[in-house]
């Protein structure tokens, strides 16, 4: 009676059986890494925009305040995208013939909004309110990163739920004085648990805080 299998099958079968555990573990690890990678979260990925608007130039270079454009950030859930009119306050005079600004002028003349690509887009099942975060001493930079150093806009953080919960479970490590919330280059030197008490911050982690 002949052998069914070559004797190398002894090794192959052992390796494949014991290796299966490692293969499964590796696959799980790779899946997790992909899930957390910029490919999935779009963190650090520069998005194409109709006009290559530079926050670095407008904020760091010219010293515009965030609220000059994002007007509703202190009183509403949505920070607000400026109407073309806001751009034209300056650009009707400055660079008024620049090719790069042609879509802005066209939008102004046709009265149709510029279609910006939203960079920080939370899923619809997550409720988020800008105003309460500012009112309780969370700075723009804490979530959006150094926007004043971004020539083109990207997402600084993953916006994954564990990232939200990092702060919601431990606000003391992230809170800052209210007068510093719009400061891009100021960071608290130490934990400010005193502010958590002063601002009456409840670290809300119940499901319905965000999933309403």
């Amino acid at each position: 009676m002949t052998q069914i299998f070559h004797h190398s099958f002894n090794t192959i079968s052992r390796v494949s059986i014991f290796g299966a555990v490692f293969m499964a573990a590796t696959l799980a690890w790779v899946g997790d890494r992909i899930h957390r990678s910029p490919y999935m979260t779009q963190a650090d990925v520069v998005r194409a925009q109709p006009v290559p608007f530079s926050h670095k130039h407008h904020v760091q270079g010219l010293g515009l305040d965030c609220r000059y454009c994002h007007t509703t950030v202190e009183e509403s859930a949505f920070a607000g995208i400026p109407p073309t009119k806001t751009c034209m306050t300056c650009h009707s005079q400055l660079f008024s013939d620049a090719d790069i600004l042609a879509p802005v002028r066209e939008s102004y003349q046709s009265d149709r909004s510029l279609e910006w690509t939203r960079v920080h887009d939370l899923p619809d099942f997550a409720y988020f309110d800008h105003s309460v975060h500012l009112a309780k001493g969370i700075g723009c930079v804490s979530c959006h990163g150094r926007v004043d150093e971004m020539p083109l806009m990207w997402r600084e953080n993953s916006l994954n739920m564990d990232w939200c919960l990092d702060c919601h479970r431990d606000p003391g490590a992230h809170v800052r004085p209210k007068e510093r919330v719009f400061d891009m280059d100021w960071f608290p030197a130490e934990r400010r648990d005193d502010l958590v008490e002063e601002y009456e911050i409840e670290s809300l982690t119940s499901c319905s805080t965000c999933h309403r």
Binding site: Q3, H6, N10, S13, R36, S158, N160, D162, D166
Partner: protein
Amino acid sequence: MASDGPSQAAPQKPTEQPLPEDRLTKAIIREGHTLGSVTDKISDIVLTRKTPRGWYIGLGLSFCLVMLMLYSIGNLLVRGTGIWGLNAPVGWGFAIINFVWWVGIGHAGTLISAILLLLNQSWRTSINRFAEAMTLFAVACAGLFPLLHVGRPWLAYWLFPYPNTMALWPQFRSPLLWDVFAVSTYATVSLLFWYVGLIPDLATLRDSSRSRTKKVVYGILAMGWRNAARHWERYETAYLLLAGLAAPLVVSVHTVVSFDFAVAVIPGWHATIMPPYFVAGAVFSGFAMVVTLAIPLRKFYGLQDFITMRHLQNMAKVMLATGMIVSYGYLMEIFTAWYSGSEYELHMIANRMGGEYSVAFWSLITCNALVPQLLWSERVRTSLPLLFIIAIVINIGMWLERFIIVVTSLHNDYLPSSWDSYAGTFWDWSLYIGTIGFFLSLVFLFIRFLPMISISEMRMLVPAAEDPEPEQRLTEDSESSQGGGE
């Protein structure tokens, strides 16, 4: 269908005429069998006998039902759980009823293979293999229902605790999560137990098959089994260990399933009797399913020598005993409701007995408490048609029991303003009937490609003295053992 099987088998063998059955036999294997005849009789079904036409018809019909199941699932995924009959008070419908029903059916396999093994009940030997297979297939059907009931089955992995981007763990205080662990453990241990038990038989198939493909496939599955003493020693240890692991699962799995109900504060669910009552019900329905499968199998494949009347009688007795426990459970439910004096519990019982679903309730009492009493009579226990019908009736009764528990408690709960009726829609029924087809398809494939009775364990039941040429057989074994690579 297969009654003509033996005559079509290998022509060198004389035509076997089934002898008239001894209905009162105490034997667990008919006298006169040798090691060789046991091996041939079981392995021939897989290897040499022509596949009976009935097998094709049966698989074909079951496969049509599988198509119905897939159609139903496809529709569910496209349109959502709204196509089921679920409504505001009755959030648990067919999905949970069918889940409990299928998981329960699986329990007989584990009881037969693990507990009866540890109790040295040698009569388990000829029925344990397909009872275990039945367990696996039933658990596969059961698992489908909660998976689909979550609404987005592609996210079902959220049920497992793993480090995730949501920084969340599942709710460990919920019995629904305990279910995940109970059922997945159960499926894993049952699969391992079944597979380890199959290894020596797979080697037998490898060594007796003539085609190259079969040799390779069975050879890979046999994992290099060479019938060596060392193999046997390890095999016995592993098998015993797995039996030890599986034995507590017989009790724990359905206990956890009963917690889904008992931990809730719904009248009719929140009762301490639930765990033992569920476990007994599970074994009850499981044995009914084993009998339902065993009677046609032994007839069509001529296995009366191995699955004797003793086996069927014993299973009938287990059904009678567990049926009595279940009936006691029904009585205690009524007693507890009355004794509690709670308005809601009393309403629940009155509603079960005289409400919208009273027909289902009294049918369930008839099927599960009254009809099994016939099994006290030995004449009933040894009558194949009656036993088969009783087993089917018990299967129906156990489904009705779960229907009554789930629906009557939910559709009339504490708030009369939210009361509503419930009935399964076409999609509920098609999925349920579809899983029965899925189950039967798997059974058909199993009996065609794997030995449905454990060859190696049956050999041990044959008195060695009756083996005509033990010497020669040993040499044959050691020769054939060269065949398998490891």
